[in-house]
């Protein structure tokens, strides 16, 4: 039964609260890039992707790769909310603690339901292409979605993958860029400008769509447009706000890689009611 926009928004709200609390408990981590990607991940996991949390290795499932692995909390919360048995909801607050399944970056050794271990930026497009090629060889309808950071596309391998994706006509692969305009050292435009980003993907031969990455309807429509696009992969440039939903984190480079203090967690939770 498909979820209503209101239901998806409610999941997004819960996940934002979980993200803030779990990173606060961990005392370190990356809240900004988790909060900016919430709607993208919610739309994929709770609406668009064909997945079965109770049968995570179903051969024809759609796959999701978090190439920007430092946003692990948003993925953990989505999987926990979706009910995967290896991502318990009541353990989210063990993030980054010794022995926790919720490692600092996604790790398939701890969570077998994950599609890939990530954390070294730049590898996700290539991983997605490999999975897409496997699906094609298997005549499987499986589609692969890879979420990239905007700073991440500074990695050369992203563009090796972009070239290969178009060359191999990988229409079962979708790359989504969480374009929140902030990376660790500051604003992307000041560290290494990536604009014009959509033009770059287009020039590499990808069908390219630009959307508001917090608009669930727009995300859904872009994913459907990607699925209807044959003969080439699709890149969705999703314009987002770093730290979205928590006023003092929004557009604040400090919260790329800094955990909120206990007082800041309380303030954030008041905003995320």
């Amino acid at each position: 039964m498909p979820k209503s926009i209101e239901e998806l928004q409610e999941i997004a709200r819960r996940m934002r609260r979980e993200i803030v609390v779990m990173i606060g408990e961990a005392k370190n981590g990356h809240p900004g890039g988790s909060l900016s990607a919430v709607e993208i991940v919610v739309e994929l996991f709770f609406d668009y992707m064909k997945i079965d949390p109770h049968n995570p290795k179903w051969a024809d499932r759609d796959r999701f790769i978090l190439s920007k692995g430092h946003a692990a909390p948003v993925l953990y919360c989505a999987m926990a909310e979706a009910g995967y048995s290896d991502t318990p909801l009541d353990r989210l607050n063990t993030l980054r603690k010794l022995g926790s399944v919720y490692q600092g970056h996604p790790d398939v050794r701890f969570i077998p339901s994950l599609e890939a271990s990530t954390g070294s930026l730049g590898e996700g497009v290539s991983l997605a292409l490999g999975m897409g090629i496997a699906a094609r060889l298997n005549h499987s309808p499986s589609r692969t979605y890879v979420l990239l950071g905007d700073g991440e596309v500074q990695e050369g391998q992203i563009w090796e993958g972009a070239m290969a994706g178009a060359f191999h006509k990988m229409d079962n692969v979708v790359a989504i860029v969480d374009y929140n305009r902030i990376q660790l050292d500051g604003f992307v435009k000041d560290i290494m400008e990536i604009a014009p980003l959509a033009d770059k993907w287009r020039a590499f031969g990808w069908h390219t769509i630009e959307i508001d990455g917090h608009d669930l309807v727009a995300i859904r429509e872009a994913l459907a447009e990607a699925q209807a696009t044959k003969g080439k992969p699709t890149a969705i440039v999703a314009h987002t706000i770093k730290g979205k939903g928590v006023s003092f984190m929004e557009n604040n480079p400090k919260f790329h890689g800094t955990a909120p203090s206990p007082a800041e967690v309380q303030l954030a939770l008041q905003e995320l009611r």
Binding site: R63, D107, V108, R109, E115, A116, S117, T118, G119, S120, G122, E123, S126, L127, A128, L129, G130, M131, G132, I133, A134, A135, L137, N138, G156, Q157, E160, G161, M163, A164, F167, H168
Partner: protein
């Protein structure tokens, strides 16, 4: 004691050629075998696979990092990818992807480097891989194999395909001397004794196995009985064979076409130190880059031929006494 049969150099196929041929057999037997190559298929010899199975051959262009991670994606999805390029490019440009993309999640991917060592010849040091054994052995869970000839290479490529987990195989460009008779069996992690001897053991792999056999004949004429082990698997190492060699012959020479830093030699030395320490000598490439030249000239100039192994044997035997 029976008269020792002298080792005769008879050139067989290059190990890269053996790899390419075996890959086709594997492809016929298993639909899950997929091959990725980075614009060197006519050199790595994956071209044979490409001709027979074009759908399962993924052209990655000159982009080794992308190629290795595409292979990782294929492995995540249940395929058995063989990713191949010159060792120098595969291991150096693809190393990060082999580390986080393959070794860390322990994927069932096979990385096959060709044109290893300095025997590639005229192309020179930018194409010569003399450090990849060290790199490959630093990846937890990886099996690392360096076959000596076409017979062992085909068998070990087959073993690698059947092994579940990441494997690196080191192959070379030139035709190489045949060490084994057809039908010889090989097991990952199990050294093969290719010559019996009691005074000293030479532990070698790759091209140096044949040179070690030639050196054993030189020393035999001098009254020194040399055991030769083909340590085709550098990781996991056959520690029992090393312990036995140390116990029974009391001295070890390690010979490889690789930098002496971080290669087979240091691994054997570690195993010996942990079991039965004995005098050891090392034949390998010293702390330098080589140059252009013909294969035989280079092996001679950089100290990787039978007379170099023989000199090391004399030295270690002298230390033993």
């Amino acid at each position: 004691m029976a008269t020792k049969t002298k080792f005769e150099v008879k050139l067989g196929a290059a190990t890269r050629e053996a790899f390419g041929r075996e890959l086709v057999e594997l492809g016929r037997a298993n639909q899950d075998i997929v091959v990725c190559d980075a614009d060197l298929s006519k050199s790595t010899m994956t071209v044979y696979f490409q001709k027979e199975f074009p759908d399962r051959f993924i052209s990655c262009g000159i982009a080794e990092a992308d190629m290795v991670a595409i292979g990782a994606g294929l492995a995540y999805a249940g395929k058995i990818p063989f990713v191949s390029s010159f060792s120098a490019f595969l291991m150096n440009k693809g190393f990060e992807q082999l580390r986080v993309g393959v070794a860390y999640p322990h994927l069932n991917l096979k990385a096959v480097g060709t044109h290893s060592g300095i025997s590639i010849g005229e192309d020179g040091p930018s194409q010569m891989s003399v450090e990849e054994t060290a790199l490959a052995c630093s990846l937890p869970g990886f099996v690392v194999i360096a076959p000596a000839d076409e017979i062992s290479c085909r068998a070990l490529v087959r073993e690698a395909a059947h092994h579940v987990g990441p494997v690196f195989i080191r192959t070379g460009r030139p035709k190489c001397p045949i060490v084994y008779a057809a039908g010889q069996t090989f097991e990952i992690g199990k050294a093969v004794q290719v010559a019996e001897g009691s005074d000293v053991t030479v532990i070698a792999n790759g091209l140096l196995v044949a040179q070690a056999l030639l050196a054993a004949d030189i020393l035999d004429a001098e009254g020194v009985s040399v055991r030769v082990l083909d340590m085709h698997t550098v990781k996991p190492l056959d520690r029992d064979a090393i312990r036995k060699a140390a116990a029974e012959t009391g001295a070890i020479v390690v010979a490889e076409e690789h930098l002496v830093d971080g290669g087979l030699g240091v691994r054997v030395a570690q195993a010996a130190a942990e079991t039965i320490p004995v005098p050891m000598e090392f034949v390998g490439i010293q702390d330098t880059y080589a140059e252009s030249g013909e294969t035989d000239e280079l092996l001679e100039k950089y100290g990787l031929v039978a007379k170099d192994v023989a000199a090391a044997i004399r030295k270690v035997v002298a230390r033993k006494r």
